[in-house]
C-alpha cells in the first residue's frame, strides 16, 4: 500500500510537471506574440517576407521529410543518414551546375537556365538514389530484424561515414553554387520581396510532392509499398516482393532529398560537408510533426516547421526582449522537435502506424 502511494505520487508529480511545461510553452508563445505585435515594431511587409522565406524553407523540409516518413513507415526505422543523402545530392547538383556553367549553358537565357536546373535536379536525384540504395543494401538490410536501436546506430554510423567521406574527398571548405542570374531577380509584385528562386522552390517542391502522392496512391508499386508498410509478412504472402518495395521506398525518398539538395543549394548558395545535418534533423522534426509514416503529414509538417522557424523567433521572442532572436532560430526548431516528441509523438495528422505495432 505504502509503495503504491509513493508510485501514485510520483506519477502525479510527473503529470503536473508536464502540465507546467505545456503551460509555460503556451505562455511564452502567447505573451511573446502579443507583446511583439503590440509594440508595432515590424511592418506588415516584414511579416509577409518572413512568411515567404518560411514557405520556401518549408517546401525544402517537406521534400526531405518525405524520405524519413516513407522509410519509417515501411521499416519502422529512423534513417538518420537521410540528411547526408540530401547533402550528397546538393554536391552532385553543384558539380552539374559547374559543368553547365563552364560550357556557358547555365546563364545563356532563361530557357537554358530552367533546363540546366532540370538537369541539375536529375543528376542530384540519380546520385542520391544510387547512394541510398547502396546504403540500404550494406548498412540496413542485414539488420532488418534486429532490435530497434541497432539499425538506428548503424544509420548514425552511415551518416558520419557519408559526412566525413565528403569531407575527405572535397575538403572541409565551402562550395559556392554558381550564380543563376534569372533566379535572383525580383518577381514584379507590388510590395512583397519575392524572388524567382522562391517561386521555383515552392512550385517544384509542390509538383514533386504531387507526383509522389500519385506514385504512392495510384501506381502498382506504390500500392505494394503501402501494403508492405501495413504488414510485411502478409504482403509477402500476397506475392509482393518485399525487398523491391523497400528498395523503391529508399530510392524515391532519396530522389526527393537529392532534388531538395539542389533547391537548397540554389537558395542558400553555399554548401559544405556538414550542410545535411541540420536540415536533416529539421526534416525529421517535420516528419514527426505531421505524423510519421503519413505522406501528406510530412508535407504539412515541413511547411509548418518552415513557418515556425522563419516567423517564430521574431514573433515569440522579440516581444520578450530576447537579444537577437534570429540566432535562436535553430534552437526553436529543436525545441519544436522535443515538444512534439514529448506531447504528441503521433503528430498533427496522426501516425499511420500505431505505437503498439511500431
Amino acid at each position: 500500500m505504502h509503495v503504491r502511494l509513493a508510485d501514485r505520487l510520483t506519477d502525479l508529480s510527473i503529470a503536473s510537471f508536464l502540465w507546467a511545461f505545456r503551460i509555460g510553452v503556451v505562455l511564452v508563445v502567447v505573451v511573446g506574440s502579443y507583446l511583439t505585435l503590440a509594440s508595432g515594431k515590424y511592418a506588415a511587409e516584414t511579416w509577409v517576407n518572413l512568411i515567404v522565406t518560411g514557405l520556401t524553407l518549408g517546401s525544402i523540409y517537406a521534400l526531405v521529410a518525405l524520405g524519413y516518413t516513407m522509410v519509417y513507415g515501411i521499416l519502422r526505422m529512423i534513417n538518420f543518414a537521410h540528411g547526408e543523402i540530401f547533402m550528397c545530392g546538393a554536391f552532385a547538383g553543384y558539380f552539374a551546375a559547374v559543368a553547365l556553367n563552364q560550357i556557358g549553358f547555365l546563364n545563356a537565357s532563361w530557357v537554358t537556365s530552367l533546363v540546366s536546373i532540370g538537369i541539375m535536379i536529375l543528376v542530384a536525384a540519380a546520385f542520391s538514389t544510387l547512394l541510398a540504395v547502396l546504403l540500404e543494401r550494406i548498412a540496413y538490410r542485414p539488420l532488418r530484424n534486429a532490435p530497434r536501436l541497432i539499425p538506428l546506430i548503424s544509420a548514425i554510423g552511415a551518416s558520419f561515414f557519408l559526412q566525413y567521406t565528403i569531407r575527405g574527398w572535397l575538403g572541409p571548405g565551402i562550395y559556392a553554387y554558381p550564380d543563376v542570374t534569372v533566379l535572383s531577380q525580383q518577381v514584379p509584385i507590388a510590395f512583397i520581396r519575392l524572388r524567382w528562386i522562391d517561386v521555383l522552390v515552392v512550385t517544384s517542391a509542390l509538383s514533386m510532392m504531387a507526383g509522389l502522392y500519385f506514385f504512392v496512391m495510384r501506381t502498382k508499386i506504390g500500392t505494394a509499398i503501402r501494403a508492405v508498410s501495413e504488414d510485411k509478412a502478409t504482403a509477402a504472402l500476397m506475392g509482393i516482393d518485399v525487398n523491391r518495395a523497400i528498395v523503391t521506398t529508399f530510392a524515391v525518398g532519396a530522389a526527393m532529398a537529392g532534388a531538395a539538395g539542389v533547391l537548397f543549394g540554389l537558395m542558400f548558395r553555399q554548401i559544405n560537408f556538414f550542410s545535411g545535418f541540420e536540415p536533416g534533423l529539421k526534416a525529421f522534426t517535420a516528419a514527426v510533426l505531421g505524423g510519421i509514416g503519413n505522406v501528406p503529414g510530412a508535407m504539412l509538417g515541413g511547411l509548418f516547421l518552415g513557418q515556425i522557424e522563419s516567423v517564430g523567433p521574431t514573433l515569440f521572442l522579440d516581444g520578450l526582449n530576447v537579444p537577437s532572436p534570429s540566432g535562436l532560430a535553430k534552437a526553436i526548431a529543436f525545441i519544436m522537435l522535443v515538444l512534439i516528441l514529448v506531447f504528441r509523438p503521433s503528430g498533427i495528422l496522426g501516425e499511420r502506424i500505431s505505437g503498439q505495432r511500431a
Binding site: D7, T10, I14, L18, F21, I78, F95, V98, I138, A139, R141, P142, L143, R144, N145, A146, R148, L149, I150, P151, L152, I153, S154, I156, G157, A158, S159, F160, F161, L162, Q163, Y164, T165, R167, G168, W169, L170, K232, A233, A236, D241, V242, N243, R244, L281, V288, P323, S324, G327, L328, K330, A331, F334, I335, L337, V338, L341, V342, P345, A358
Partner: protein, 591 residues
Amino acid sequence: MSEATAASTSGPGKATANAPDAALEQLLAPRADWRGVVRVGLLGGVVALYLCLVGIVPTFDPRALVAGIISLGDTAILGTGLAIGFLASLRSPDGPRRAIGAGALAGALAGAMLTLFVILGSIVDLRAVALHASPATYDILTFGLGVAGSWIPTVAMGLAGAVAGGIAVLPKRVREPIILGLMSLLVVGLFAGVIRTPMLASPLTSALGRFLFASEGLTVAGAIATLVAVVGGQALSRRLGVRQRVREMPETRRRRMRMPFLVLGVLFVLWLPQGVGSFFAQVVAVVTLYVLMGFGLNITLGLAGLLDLGFVAFFAVGAYTVGLLTATGEFGIAGWPFWAAIPFAVLLAMLFGAFLGLPILGIRGDYLAIATLGFGEIIRILAGSDLMKPLLGGPRGITSIPKPIEVSPDSFLAGPLQIYYIALACAVVVAFVAVRLRDSRLGRAWVAIREDEDVAEAMGINLVQTKLLAYMLGAAFAGLGGAIFATLLGAIISSSINLYVSINVAAIIIVGGMGSIPGVVLGSIFLIGVPELFREFSEYRFLFYGVALMAMMIYRPEGILPSGITKRELHASDAVQPAGPTAAPMTETGR
C-alpha cells in the same frame, strides 16, 4: 569497409549459437570459385581507391612506420592488398599454389584499378571533383615515377596479395604468430614516439631507445627486433604450452598468479603520465576523462538501454557550474575552490537530468535518442547565444578557472597530471558504483526494462521512475566529466559544447561493449587516445567512427569486449530461431 562489402555479397549465412564466430565464418566463407576471387579483387580495388580519394593515403604518408622504408600511407595500401589476398585465398579452389595464385590475382586486380586511376589522372585533372586526386597521391602510388610507374600499384598489390595468400595456407601454428607479428609491428611503429620519449629520458635505456626507434616510427633494427620478439615469444609460449598449463591450473592458483600482473598494471597506470611528457600526459588525461564519462553513459545506455545522444547537455551543466563557481576572472561569481564546487556541479547536472528526463522518458526508444540529441543541440545553441552571453560569456567563454590543487610548476602534480589522477580516482569510484548498481535490484530492473518494457512493467517495475534514475545517474557522471574537463582546460568556451562529445561517448560504449567496463577502457583508448595523439587519425576520426558503428552493428552488436549478459541476450534468439519471419523473402531476393 572492405569487410562490410565483402560479406554482404557473400550471401545470407545461417546464424548459429555463437554468432561472432559465425559472422566471421560467413565473412570468410570459402566458396571455392574464381568468381569469388575476382569479386574480392574488385571490391578491394574500390576500397583502395576510396582510401586514396578520401585522402587517407596522402595524409598518412608523411608519418613513417619503419623509418626510411615504409610510411603509414604505404601501409594503408599494402595492408589493403594483404587483406584482399587473404580473403581471396580463402575463396580459391583448394591447394596452396592456387591460394597464392588467387591472392596474387585479386591483389593485382585491385592494384590495376589504382593503375587506371594514375593513368586517368595523368590525362585529365581530376582535382576539381576530388581534392586528393593530386600529383602527391600519384607519387605515393608510383614511388615518384609518375605515369611511367603506373604499373607499380598492380605489381605491388599483386605481390602483397600473393604473400597474404601464402600466409593464409600456412598451418595455423605458423600463421598465427606471423599475423600477430605484423600487427604488433604496426602498433609498435605507430606508438614509437610515445615509447621513445621515456626511454630517452633514462640513461639506462636511452641507447636502446635510439637503437629501436627513430624520431618517428621504428628503425630497421627495431622492426626486426619487434618481429623476432613477437614471433619468437609466440613460438616459445606454444612450445612450452603456457596457455594449456594455465588452463589446467586450479582456480585459486590462477588467481594468485594474476595478482602480480594486476599490481604491475596498477603501477603502470599510476606511472603512465609521469614518464611520457606533457603532451601525452594531456592526452592520457583526456582519455581517462572519457573513460569516466563512458562509465556514466554505460549505466544509461549499457544497462537501461536508453540511447542518450544529448550527453553533452549535462557535460555543459557540469563544466559551466564549475566555471562560474571557481573562476577568478570575469564571469566567476563565487571564487570557490574546485572541491567545493564539484558536488554542486554533479548535483545540478543530476537535477538537469531529472528536468529533461521527466518529459521524455515515456517515449519510445528511437524517439528518445532523437529527443536527447535535440536537447544537446538546444543546450549547445543556448551556450553560444547572445541570450546567455552576459552569464556564460558566449563564444569567448569563462576563462581563468584555477586548477584543483595549487602546486609549484615543477611538482609531479603540475599541469594535466593532477587532473589525470583526479579523473582516474573518479573513474574508479564511478566504475565501483556502476558495478554495484548493476548487481543490485535496481540494476536488474534496468536490464529488464532494456529487454522488454511491457514485461518489466507487468513485473511491477515503475518504468518512468527506474528509467529516470538511470538517466539522472548518467547525467551526474556527465556533469562530473564536464567539471573536470573545465579545470583541465582552465576555461570553458561554447565551442567545447558540441554534438561530438555525445557521439564520442556513445561510440566508446557501442564499440567497446555495452555494459562492460574493460570495453569502455578499450574504446576510450582507441576512439579518443589514438586520434588525440596522431593528427592524421584525428582528421579521419569520425569517418572511422561511422565505419566502426556500422560494422559493429552488422557483425558484433554487443561490442568488442561485451559483458557476458549482453552477449547472451543479443545472441539468445539466434539459437532458437535461425531466421526471423520476414527473413524468408530476403534470402530469396537478397542476392
